[in-house]
């Protein structure tokens, strides 16, 4: 059975060329970039080159890039770093209700430690209204953190407008762009952002490495990790050299193929969306119809529960994810879909299909063959379907 992986928003397979590029750093190129001898100097040059490539990907200066241990760390660093460095100025943070848990739980942690957080609601498509952000600003606001695009529904936020509001009011603005990198154009100058989080494993790079962009002139963030002088004293610890090299290669490949891939993925995604809507009754798109990542399709199949659908698909070798309460460890339904005002029973039946560079038309045809009878079978078992 051919396996079909449609969970690329969770993580992506490593690109073979990325692996190639990383391998020497597990073998002969093992030096510590902080060492002054030739073993170290050679690696220092490589890490600097990697920093340039990642910077170029988002239109930044290399000195504005701090490598981290991934998207979650970048989010934590940005938010806690600003909060700690600016606590004499104010203790209020603005975010949205549908952020990734790396942002939400960081904000909740700060709430327990003397900060106030405003969680801006979203509309039915998962869009934050910039006016709501403007309205939430107070004398005490030190940070606005709103994600660039959402991992569950793919909705892209009006991030430039929000950044403009922050800029006008002189407030530091952070965006979690983990899901956007390599999928849609992302330029820090164009957005007008102070801080931006990215992660390698969402664009066919390695896991456990990411970066935080910090605009020149932003008040120095307090580091999350104290220690040596690595990363311009912003993040201590001997660098994850192979990871950083892999990350930079993944950026290079993604920027080369982005335009081409974007068109290809949108057409695959839309084919899937249209055909599912046609073949299965009572389905609903979750997320914005157009302002959406090319890779993401989230749909609810009414009267059925998502984990049941997911396991049925898994048995057929198809990997997707669901926002159903039953499938989350906490037994809470997706906070994103709930915030969009979607009733719990419809959140229950949600599936996320997320595409990546390895997906083909055959994968889409396969899911179109498998899913309709699965939904029919599960509905026949559902007490809600008959009533």
């Amino acid at each position: 059975m051919k396996l079909v992986y449609l969970d690329n928003n969770a993580t992506t397979p490593l690109h073979p060329e990325v692996l190639e590029e990383m391998l020497p750093f597990f073998k002969e190129d093992f030096g510590n970039p902080s060492s002054l001898h030739q073993f170290g100097r050679k690696i220092r040059v490589k890490v600097d080159e990697a920093r340039e490539k990642v910077a170029k990907m988002i239109g930044a200066d290399p000195l504005e890039i701090v490598f981290t241990g991934g998207g979650s760390e970048s989010d934590n660093f940005a938010i806690k770093g600003v909060a700690s460095a600016n606590k004499d100025k104010g203790r209020h943070i603005i975010t949205s209700e549908i952020e990734h848990h790396a942002v939400l739980n960081t904000c909740k942690y700060l709430e327990k430690n003397g900060y106030q957080v405003t969680y801006i609601p979203v509309d039915e498509y998962g869009v934050v209204n910039p006016e709501d952000v403007a309205g939430a600003i107070s004398e005490d606001t030190i940070l606005i953190t709103i994600h660039h695009s959402n991992n569950e529904i793919g909705t892209i936020q009006p991030i430039k407008e929000i950044a403009k509001i922050a800029q006008e009011r002189g407030i530091i603005f952070h965006t979690d762009a983990v899901q956007s990198l390599g999928k849609v154009p992302l330029n820090v100058e164009d957005i007008g952002v102070n801080l931006l989080s990215i992660s390698a494993h969402k664009l066919n790079g390695p896991k456990g490495v990411g970066a935080c962009y910090i605009r020149k002139g932003t008040k120095r963030l307090h580091p999350l990790i104290n220690g040596g002088n690595q990363e311009m004293k912003r993040r201590a610890g001997t660098e994850n050299v192979a990871g950083i090299i892999g990350f930079s290669k993944a950026c290079e490949l993604a920027s080369t193929f982005m335009e081409e891939e974007r068109g290809r993925l949108i057409s695959l995604r839309d084919k899937l969306q249209n055909a599912l809507t046609e073949k299965i009754s009572h389905v609903k798109l979750n997320g914005h119809p157009t302002k959406r990542l090319p890779t993401t399709l989230n749909m609810s199949f009414e009267y059925v529960e998502g984990e049941t659908l997911m396991i049925n698909l898994d048995l057929e070798g198809i990997a997707v994810s669901t926002g159903s309460a039953c499938s989350s460890g906490s037994l809470e339904p997706s906070h994103v879909l709930v915030a969009m005002g979607i009733p719990h029973e419809i959140v229950h039946g949600s599936l996320r299909f997320s595409l990546g560079r390895e997906n083909t038309e055959e994968d889409i045809d396969r899911i179109l063959e498998v899913l309709p009878p699965v939904v029919e079978k599960v509905r026949a078992m559902s007490p809600l379907w008959e009533d």
Binding site: E307, I311, S324, C326, H348, A380, P383, L384
Partner: protein
């Protein structure tokens, strides 16, 4: 789910091939229960003759564990006397399935409660 699987083989067997799915038109007792934890629903139909469960069918809106426990409980109660099935708890069902993941134990409570609700309906109908 991982290679080792979220659920036991027994659970997967009942999930993939649920026994006694459907409804009984002239049921003697019908119980509908909802699960407050995640909002799932089970509906159990019983046909009872001479204090014996002669037939049982179910419909369930829920996770893999909920479907498997629904299926298993219909197997466990069919052919049994009412007095006997009153002894069946969610633990009995979970054990018969070779165990359930910890965070899925609450799903088996749904099955136990559905039996209680269906019997209550049966007694009320009989007056």
């Amino acid at each position: 789910m991982g290679e080792e699987g979220l659920y036991s083989d027994k659970v997967m067997d009942h999930f993939e091939n649920p026994r006694n799915v459907g409804k009984i038109e002239d049921a003697d007792g019908v119980g509908t229960v909802g699960n407050p934890v995640c909002g799932d629903v089970m509906k159990l139909y019983l046909k009872i003759d001479d204090d014996t469960i002669v037939d049982a069918k179910f419909k369930t809106f829920g996770c893999g564990a909920a479907i498997a426990t629904s299926s298993m409980i219909t197997e466990l109660i069919k052919g049994k006397k009412i007095e006997e099935i009153k002894q069946i708890t969610n633990k009995t069902v979970a054990e018969a399935l070779g165990g359930l993941p910890k965070n899925k134990l609450h799903c088996s409570v749904l099955a136990e409660e559905a039996v209680e609700a269906a019997l209550k309906d049966y007694y009320e109908k009989r007056g």
